[in-house]
Symmetry: C3
Subunit: 313 residues, 3 copies
Amino acid sequence: MKNYLSINDIDSLSTWVKEAISLKKQPRKFKELGSDKTIGLLFFNNSLRTRLSTQKAAMNLGMEVIVMNFGSEGWALEYADGTIMDQGTSEHIKEAAQVISQYCDIIAIRAFAGLVDKEKDEAEEVLNGFKKYANVPIVNMESSVGHPLQALTDAITMEEQNFKNDPKVVLSWAPHPKALPHAVANSFVQMMQKQNADFVITHPVGYELDPNITKDSKIEHDQDKALENADFVYVKNWSSYSDYGQIKSQDKTWQMTLKKLGNAKFMHCLPVRRNVVVADEVLDSKQSLVIEQANNRTFAAQLVLKKILENLN
Amino acid sequence: MKNYLSINDIDSLSTWVKEAISLKKQPRKFKELGSDKTIGLLFFNNSLRTRLSTQKAAMNLGMEVIVMNFGSEGWALEYADGTIMDQGTSEHIKEAAQVISQYCDIIAIRAFAGLVDKEKDEAEEVLNGFKKYANVPIVNMESSVGHPLQALTDAITMEEQNFKNDPKVVLSWAPHPKALPHAVANSFVQMMQKQNADFVITHPVGYELDPNITKDSKIEHDQDKALENADFVYVKNWSSYSDYGQIKSQDKTWQMTLKKLGNAKFMHCLPVRRNVVVADEVLDSKQSLVIEQANNRTFAAQLVLKKILENLN
Amino acid sequence: MKNYLSINDIDSLSTWVKEAISLKKQPRKFKELGSDKTIGLLFFNNSLRTRLSTQKAAMNLGMEVIVMNFGSEGWALEYADGTIMDQGTSEHIKEAAQVISQYCDIIAIRAFAGLVDKEKDEAEEVLNGFKKYANVPIVNMESSVGHPLQALTDAITMEEQNFKNDPKVVLSWAPHPKALPHAVANSFVQMMQKQNADFVITHPVGYELDPNITKDSKIEHDQDKALENADFVYVKNWSSYSDYGQIKSQDKTWQMTLKKLGNAKFMHCLPVRRNVVVADEVLDSKQSLVIEQANNRTFAAQLVLKKILENLN
């Protein structure tokens, strides 16, 4: 594998999930693999789990880690071709990506959607800029349209539950005070489309995700109906896609509660706003998998880095 | 030892001090002890000595170090139970602490007093939140009410002077343009209460520290009288405790000078404002121990981490 | 070698360049040299190449690296002697430098010119403050008046071109929307003065660099004439030195183009503003050496650190 940019870079999800679970049992088994190799973690946005788990994953593989907050420690990059750069940007992605490729064997990037200009966000200028101009593998630590390390984590976490072959999995929208990107939901949907499962997406009308991503996945606007007999309920807020980046509802009745959850396992990528997105009673119950999801971030990242390193050596 | 939250976590101060002095002679002797172990240093406030010396201590023990500035690199945490999190906080300490525990074998935290709400500061919500919800040992890198790594450092530094058994030690308040927390003074007092010494606290009326901390330690409002025949003079500003967080005096006559110091050794935790807290002549004299105190920060931290690691393995 | 503060700390440029080229072939050859040694990289200004390449260089030598952004993670330092520190500065360089020397075996510092007060900038208070009070070697990662790691890099990059013995090298000013420091240009001039070359500086009238640095180097205000038959053209903006820190021209005709460049190799330290400082056609041509210059930053830094470490051991 060269890059890990989206769920589509996974050749066999079931094989990857098994391999990650095996890595989790012996996290330092491949600590020689990354010897004398450097990963650069470039943050254009804040991070807690991704920052710590990806650094931990790289260290488990014996890599050297350089962390850089591009916004506060570096400067604004230019992504457009042919620009007369006499305004706010100090360096073109062409130079930045080629240069960093000389210091790092792998570059991992976090750059969120701005949620103002749909076309610009979908162009994924930061991630695609690095992909285009870097000479080393690129890992997506959440971009405008996807968060494939999270979705791989989610697949690992579901597999660990040793469920029946075809569980019912529901992705349920939830209210939130801020406009949030679609990346986590998008990658979760794409991951579920690779699984044998009864998968349903539920959200208020007007919160349809990009139809090029949901494709023929089932959408049910009645949350109660969607949740019936669910085995896993993945809750996540996102802003409107059609009215791009807008908050069209903060309907509190969409908050996840124990009653709604039934016997299902609860999942969320974190950070989560308690008693807005989901009630305390859910997060504090044994049905919640959120802490184990966060744990598995390390092993999802470690599997991805391992595959890239094996391809480098 | 599980956590190092306050001076009270030291079972035998004299034994610890001896052990730290022994570590200082061979700082890399235990470089295998922390192998495959990770420490997370979480900063909710700025730092120079603590950041560098704790990182150095962990590296001396062979640990991997992750440094995170929570404010600028992460987001605001919620500490209250049951909150409807629709305001400024993005993640609850319950999740954050459990999650970080999965990436780090030890978590070290710096979170200063806000000096606005005494009750809130004394609740130590950041430190106690991590203590309550984390599954790994917690180290206090200065909290609202204590700075026990500094106080251990101070004990080491005094021991190195090979003084007579019962030295006279004075903690003397000094003026400062900003309102400062009580943490350093509190931990120094608590540490001195474990020593065989003639210990005196001196400050203007109105600057009494928390009586639950000073207990029956001697307080003398006449600085000259307090300083008579002192062997060690520890100078430090703090804001009012009774009029919580207020500056009640900037009386320049409380500044430490060579004349006042007499033959005593001068101590301060740094950073120090020259010619406000203490005259140049004192800091530039051979009586000043401040640089050696800073040096000993490494070995105080290293001893604490060593004890925690030994308990982990 | 003790410190690397300016080009003048290089005893034999040709020997250093050869040694750096040799290091580049086996970057991990000396990975034991820095074992149990720590370098502190202190940033008072932002950085991309310098931050990453110096960290990489240190890791190649097996050193442990501590990176600190002094502005955002620490506090303002006082540099003047005898100050009553009741204003914005919290710690004196005397303490800071001595203290950091106890945690780090080498200290590297980036502190740009402020471009407001020439005398203050030329006093190099940050770099010279650390030089004066630190007890360990100091490396200049770009100071007010010099960027000697860049100039060493440039010498390496020119040598790799296997040019005829005495190439014609032109340092050509270029327009820029912001007022920039003189450090890169200064160190390049000083480095060229140690080379066998036909060296010419060209810039609009009013952009003369410090005459104490240019000395008897040739200055030609007619850019076309200066560029005739050039082998290397180093392009760089700087603000006025005589009208200190002022922008006196943004004359677009000084932008470097392929036509002006002729058959010469193009050099720039990066970051570079495309189509302001230099046309896309130049940067995207095979005549551009900018990416290789950035690559060589690692080996320039590694050579400097290697020489310092050899002197320490």
